[in-house]
Structures are given as C-alpha cells and as structure tokens.
Symmetry: C2
Subunit: 154 residues, 2 copies
Amino acid sequence: MQQSEKALLRAARKEDVPAIVAMLADDHLGATREGDPGDERYLAAFERIDANPYDELIVAEQDGEVVGTMQLTYLAGLSRLGAERCQIEAVRVAAAARGQGLGGRMIAWAVDRARERGCAIVQLTSDKSRTDAHRFYDNLGFTASHEGYKLSLS
Amino acid sequence: MQQSEKALLRAARKEDVPAIVAMLADDHLGATREGDPGDERYLAAFERIDANPYDELIVAEQDGEVVGTMQLTYLAGLSRLGAERCQIEAVRVAAAARGQGLGGRMIAWAVDRARERGCAIVQLTSDKSRTDAHRFYDNLGFTASHEGYKLSLS
C-alpha cells in the first residue's frame, strides 16, 4: 500500500489553520507572500470559508499530521444551462509527504466529489512557472485550454 | 461622448436572464453549449447567484437594452494573509454594442469595485482561442501568468 492511501481527506478545522498556512508558505511562490501562521487574518478567512456552503477547505491527515490541503469552491453561473463548476485553489502537499501519490489522490477525490454534486466542469489555474504541476494536471486528464489572467491590486 | 459611457452598470434582475443567455449563446464557443433562454435551469442558477452575498451578476444597460454582462465572485482563501480575490467570469458584450469601449469600461468598473472591497487580486481565465480578448486583457494591465486548466465532467 502506498503511504498516501493511508491519508484521510476531511474538512479542515480551525486548529488545522497553522499547518495549512505553513504549507502555503513552504513554496517558491508562497514564501514571499505569507505571514505568521497565527495571524488572525488567516483565522478570519477560515471562518468565512467554513460558513459558506459553497466553499470547502480540505486537508489530508496522515498519522495524525496535516500533510496536504486544497480548497474547493462550487461556482454558480448561467453558462452551460446554469451548470455549477468546481474550482480548485491552493493545492499543497507537505514536503515530507511528496512523491507518494497524495496530490493525485487529492485531485481525484475532488473530481469525484464534483461529479457527485453534478458539476459540469472542474477548473483550476497553475502558475506558468510550476512546470511539474502542469505535467501532473495533464496526466490527470485536465486540459490547459485557457490563459489564466491575474491583476494584483496590492 | 462614446456610446459606452451612456451604459448603466447594475445588478442583473430576473427579467434580464433571457438577454444574458442570448449573449452567452452568441459566441463561437457558447453557440454549442447553451439552450433555450427560457430554460428554467437558467432561472435556478440566477436565483442561486442572487442569494449569494459573494456573487454579483452584472449587466450593462443602454437605451433600455441589456448590452453587456459579467459575473463577479468574491473568493475567500487562506493564501496571501487570507486575502479575498475577485474572479470575473462570463464577460460578454452584445454584437450590436461592440467596438465602443464597453468591455473595457465593464472590466475597469469591476477592478474598481474589487479594490474598494479590499480584494488583493482580480482574476479570470480566457479560452486560448480568444486572441482578441487576450490583447484586451493585456491592455487593461492583466498578466497571463497562469495556465487555466479545465476538466469537463459532462
């Protein structure tokens, strides 16, 4: 059995927030933009996500440790006969848990969940510098059909 | 004064739904995936958007006609100190109202609105076949920094 098969995927709890923030920061892009994992703004964002029925912050727990995270948002829209879309953001696997197939299991789990809900599409964007992630999403059946535009306001 | 400056940007109402769907369908990509503008699934999606405080479906009205639309969603997340992001989806300008600067005015309006709300980022994806749209977003200051991945479930 692969290590990753032992991981439990579940909704994040308030006490998981510091571990999630640590994973967001442990990254060549995230390192420059995150702060103290105890910063109250992280908790406020968690409360907002937790209270929203269309948002799910997920963690992967293995041997009592949080080793992965992703956020799922179910977007409404009129397009495609009013179909719901599942958007995946902020996918991270802890450094110590990489190379065990956990990321692939997380995304497959998200896709299954979106399908059960009746979503027409699963979508995500990935920074163009994350070439390893691109192979990963290509292998999972995703198509890089769109340009992902960002405008920073800060 | 440009024609587009006369357009009023406002929240969509239920009675605008058929005009919005007509704009979604009048497009080389949308033509194959939309249905009867009176289909009740469009109204159900409208009600879901209208009831969600983090979703805004906007229309541009000119001389009593709906001539543009876009959807803004304010996404929560832990990244970047729990910053909110504004995501723009389903941007369309009616064929008869194109070439008057309306699309640029709509996006600038959305960016101002996101900034007032304190969003850290405005983001959107655009199909790689929409090369005119790419020039448009580049000119508005957006950066195509990400790959936009989609997985169709239908």
